[in-house]
């Protein structure tokens, strides 16, 4: 493949599944990674920034800048519950040594706004954590809503129950006000939510085969996933849900997904509704803008692609 289809700024809170998604992006010829911008979420901002640096160092890409992003949600407090799923270090309690790299100068949101304005129509944002950085960026520079090529987020739950509350998915729940801003911004937005990500399960056997590949990415994955896997086992899942990699997969090949377009309202938080994402399928609210909502996925093809990418990316 000659030209990457997507030049991506990856906004991320690594995070076990964020790391798996990073390796997918790194090994996919359709994607050119321009930068990683970090966000609190699966861990605090110090943790997720340190982990983002570990990721670019692991694949020997110190040229990909890592910019530190927001430390707190816009309005409510950060609950820090990600450690339960991702370990106290955000990487499954693998306790890896710190990277020797440092974050780039500047703030993530400002960087996102400047990069998009400097290359209209060229840059895709893929955000797999709380949406604070994206909300700040579009508040700083509303023009990025027109200048961005596409915005793909992992977050939300359209037709299924939530994972952070009965109605809310964790990334949206972690900063509902930011999500409201992002869903109302009027940019070409795709929501890869629990409807698709929980329909994609990497089984224990699949993971064992992945660990056995034996390259720097799969070795890293083999160290961080078992903790995450045990969390899923306790939830009664055989294997792990494929959350963040699904957003990268959508960028690589949207035909993996069944989608439907609707205005999606993000609830800000009365009486337990914080972070609920309500699609208005029948346009009863007559509200805009529309969001492209992923509802179904070809999970088998996706998993085969993931494995194939991680093998050939290091061949």
């Amino acid at each position: 493949m000659s030209e990457p289809r997507h030049r991506i700024i990856y906004d991320t809170d690594p995070g076990v599944d964020d790391s798996m998604a990073f390796f997918l992006a790194h090994t996919s010829p359709e994607i050119e990674l321009l930068a990683l911008t970090t966000i609190f979420g699966n861990g605090g901002i110090e943790t997720t920034t340190a982990n983002a640096l570990r990721l670019v160092e692991t694949v020997d890409r110190p040229d990909i800048p890592v910019l530190r992003g927001a430390a707190k949600p816009l309005l409510h407090a950060y609950d820090g519950r990600g450690a339960m799923v991702h370990g106290s270090d955000g990487l499954g309690d693998s306790h890896m040594p710190p990277a020797s790299l440092q974050p780039a100068n500047g703030q993530a949101a400002q960087f996102i706004a400047e990069q998009i304005m400097a290359a209209p129509g060229e840059i895709t944002l893929v955000a797999v954590g709380p949406l604070t950085n994206l909300a700040l960026a579009v508040s700083l520079e509303p023009g990025i809503a027109d200048a961005v090529r596409e915005v793909i987020i992992m977050g939300g739950a359209a037709t299924v129950v939530g994972n952070a509350s009965p109605v809310a998915e964790a990334n949206i729940h972690n900063d509902a006000a930011a999500a409201r801003i992002v869903f109302e911004a009027g940019w070409p937005l795709t929501m890869v939510g629990l409807d698709a990500t929980q329909a994609t399960i990497m089984s224990s056997a699949y993971l064992d085969d992945l660990y056995a590949i034996g390259n720097p990415a799969t070795d890293f994955i083999a160290r961080i996933v078992p903790f995450y896997h045990r969390f899923h086992t306790r939830q009664g899942v055989d294997g792990i849900y494929v959350h963040d990699s699904s957003a990268i997969m959508y960028a690589i090949d949207p035909t993996l997904y069944e989608t439907r377009s609707a205005y999606v309202r993000v609830c800000l938080g009365h009486e337990g509704t914080r972070g609920q994402t309500i699609p208005d399928w029948r346009s009863q609210w007559r509200a805009e803008p529309a969001c492209n909502v992923c509802l179904g996925v070809d999970a088998e093809r996706l998993k085969a692609m993931y494995r194939e990418r991680l093998i050939h990316g290091f061949a």
Binding site: A70, K72, L74, Q110, P142, E184, L268
Partner: protein, 317 residues
């Protein structure tokens, strides 16, 4: 000289705040925020004002164009179509800087000690700066703002315009831990211009004063249409006066936060003065604070001293 960044949405009273600051404070920059009028209009107005005062060395930076979550509802009924109706300003020659206002605020606070922020419009820029770079909260000298109220609102019964325009941003700023001096409506309605002040300014006979006279005549007329009283509260210069001559004001420390969900109270600054038992009566019994204080709320201003300070400053141009 006290260093200050004036974050504003000019606006008639914003113009007076800048003119007052220009004589007594070291203005590092003026940052604009959508509020009284659109971002384009208030930014043009900021340029007009620095040209009027012959201080084109002061950089002007454009900031937030919309509130964080809500739709923008401007105040054209008070400030007119341009946001600065009244005088005929020449089209400004000076240009706005390339950098974003929020970036200027963040970088300035990180690089320089003892800088005050004087936000006299909606708090969108300050909120964006704090969420992007939380360290600025401990770097700054403090925030002297015009917004909110201990008592009545103006946009609604309970909400003052600057806070109501972007209550979520205000919530971020009030809850940030930054040291805040708040000149709310309860205070600024004690600092009024009338036809008498217009006459005093006119009699000083300078060109800047003549433009201010035209601004105040428009502002007084607009205010009178809304309130029925021919008095105009000089809101924004109060927050600047608090930095120049703090002894003109009396403050009371208390806890203040901002309502973002209320059905009747969106944008209200909820001031906890339970410790001032009998407040508003002749007998106030002062007890212990019920929540930790985060804001110095301005309670009283020496109106004649304030007007003397302002009119004197206008006469120096």
């Amino acid at each position: 000289m006290t260093k200050v960044i004036i974050d504003c949405d000019p606006g008639h009273d914003d113009a007076l705040a800048i003119l007052l600051a220009g004589q007594h404070l070291d203005i590092l920059g003026i940052t604009t925020v959508a509020g009284n009028q659109t971002s384009d209009k208030v930014t043009a107005n900021a340029l007009k004002i620095v040209e009027l005062m012959d201080r084109t060395d002061i950089p002007v930076f454009r900031g937030a164009q919309v509130p964080l979550l809500r739709k923008a509802i401007h105040a054209g009924h008070i400030h007119g179509e341009t946001g600065l109706d009244g005088p005929d300003f020449p089209t400004p020659v000076k240009e706005v800087e390339d950098r974003h206002a929020v970036d200027f605020i963040v970088q300035t606070l990180m690089a320089e000690d003892d800088v005050w922020l004087a936000p006299v419009g909606p708090l969108t820029n300050v909120a964006l700066a704090i969420r992007q770079r939380p360290e600025i909260v401990s770097r700054m000298a403090g925030i002297s703002l015009m917004g909110g109220s201990l008592t009545t609102g103006n946009s609604t019964a309970t909400a003052e315009f600057n806070i109501w325009f972007d209550a979520e941003a205000a919530r971020i700023v009030y809850d940030s831990g930054a040291p805040i001096k708040m000149c709310g409506l309860n205070l600024t309605q004690q600092a009024n211009a009338t036809d008498r002040e217009i006459e005093r300014i006119r009699n000083q006979g300078n060109r800047v004063g003549e433009v201010v006279v035209q601004l105040l005549e428009f502002y007084l007329d607009a205010g009178e249409r809304v309130t029925g009283v021919r008095k105009a509260a000089l809101h924004d210069p109060c927050a600047v006066a608090a930095l120049i001559q703090p002894d003109l004001l009396e403050f009371e420390a208390m806890h203040v936060s901002v309502e973002t969900r209320g059905e009747l109270t969106y944008g209200m600054t909820v001031c906890d003065y339970r410790h001032l038992r009998g407040f508003g009566s002749s007998q106030v019994d002062r007890g212990p604070l019920r929540q930790e204080a985060n804001v110095e709320v301005a309670m009283k201003i020496d109106e004649s001293g304030f007007l003397d300070l302002l009119i004197d400053a206008l006469g120096r141009y």
